[in-house]
């Protein structure tokens, strides 16, 4: 396990709370499940980086993958039909899409 990737994931999660909050305000309650997963992942990742305990790192990695998945399930309809408003949510999607790669890297490398 490599904690460096979890530190990068933590930075991305911090940034995602900002872009996520903006997107949440724009799109309403539809994003509540994703936003909940994001906050939970942020807390667990912070705990993983501080403690370095393997179990917590694994849980954090799983939650990071869930954050990316919930983003796509909740954004699916908007991604399909809303091109003009994409600058509003594009930054958030780009950030959370990095998380699964970092999560897998932190477990395998």
């Amino acid at each position: 396990m490599n904690l460096t990737y979890q530190v990068i994931a933590l930075a991305i999660l911090f940034s995602s709370t900002v872009t996520g909050f903006i997107t949440f305000r724009m799109q309403g309650l539809k994003l509540a499940p994703h936003f909940g997963a994001l906050i939970l992942a942020l807390i667990v990742t912070l705990a993983a980086v501080i403690t370095g305990i393997s179990v917590i790192v694994v849980v954090a990695a799983v939650l990071q993958v869930i954050v990316a998945l919930t983003a796509y399930t909740q954004f699916f309809q908007i991604l399909r039909d809303n091109f003009q408003t994409s600058p509003g949510y594009g930054a958030h999607l780009a950030l959370v899409t990095m998380l699964p790669v970092l999560a897998i890297a932190s477990l395998l490398m």
């Binding site: 724009m26 799109q27 309403g28 309809q77 039909d81 809303n82 003009q84 408003t85 994409s86 509003g88």
Partner: protein, 281 residues
């Protein structure tokens, strides 16, 4: 109910005799009566009113006079919209006014002068008028009288009587606030007696896709699909731009019930019609 009697061209004392006969032979004794008379007919009307147990109120119209004979002790319907936020008061008053007959009055109270200013704009735009303003304790009060709405011929250039609203929505489900505003503003316009057409284009057509409005939610409002259904039932026409729909792979079969596909010509025609006020979201 308010009975309206037009007696133009009849002068005093004949107007007074006519008013006395009308009050004496009312089908519903104690009914409120408004006489529309020519200037000069008002002399002696107050004595007629007293004789039959009425109080008289004189209002000047554009050319004529309105003399209201109000049964003594009759109270006016009242509503207090304090605490309601926009567009609640306009919708509440609009619904209450729609149940009144021409000439009937409604007293509206609110702690906020801004709310009453908004209501005044809505009431006058729907053809009715404000006949009184006063203060009762901490409440500001306006008295609204329902009037007959003057119809504007289609295609006239009169900007003062635009009684149709075109709501153009180009942001779709990706912007919940604008999506809600589309239907809430439409609801207000309908309650003001306006004919509303919604045109969905660009990202706006995402609202027209079957089931997609159900995903737009905000704790302060009903889900978007409910508002959409409500507007459809209220007679709002909703078009989805054919070009924008094609760009997003939306076909006629994918549209929510009641939404019609329309081309650029329909949009341009609606925009070119001077009887439409255009709102963009």
């Amino acid at each position: 109910m308010v009975k309206t009697v037009k007696a133009l061209g009849i002068r005093s004392p004949n107007a007074g005799i006519l008013a006395g006969n009308v009050l004496r032979s009312l089908e519903m004794p104690g009914e409120e009566v408004r006489f529309i008379v020519s200037p000069g007919a008002e002399a002696g009307m107050d004595a007629v009113a007293r004789k039959y147990g009425y109080s008289m109120e004189l209002n000047r119209l554009e050319k004529d006079l309105e003399i209201r004979m109000i049964p003594s002790g009759k109270t006016m319907e009242e509503i207090d919209v304090t605490g309601e936020t926009c567009p609640g008061p306009v919708i509440i008053v609009g619904e209450r006014l729609s149940g009144l007959a021409i000439g009937e009055r409604l007293k509206v109270k609110s702690a906020s002068l801004d709310t009453l200013a908004d209501l005044t704009a809505a009431v006058t735009a729907s053809g009715s008028r404000i006949v009184g303003e006063e203060t009762e304790g901490d409440r500001h009060v306006i008295t609204v009288e329902k009037c007959e709405k003057k119809e504007t011929p289609v295609g006239t250039l009169s900007a003062a009587n635009r009684d149709r609203v075109l709501v153009v929505q180009s942001n779709g489900t990706g912007n919940a606030e604008r999506a809600y505003a589309t239907f809430i503003f439409s609801k207000v316009a309908v309650s003001m007696g306006k004919k509303v057409t919604i045109f969905l284009l660009m990202d706006g057509v995402s609202i027209a896709r079957k089931g997609s409005a159900a995903g737009v939610k905000h704790p302060a409002f009903a889900p978007l699909d409910q508002l959409m259904d409500e507007m459809m039932k209220a007679g709002v026409t909703m078009y989805a731009c054919e070009l924008s729909a094609t760009f997003r792979g939306i076909t006629e079969n994918d549209l929510a019930p009641g939404v019609k596909l329309a081309g650029a010509a329909t949009y341009i025609q609606l925009l070119s019609d001077p009887t439409y006020a255009v709102v963009n979201f």
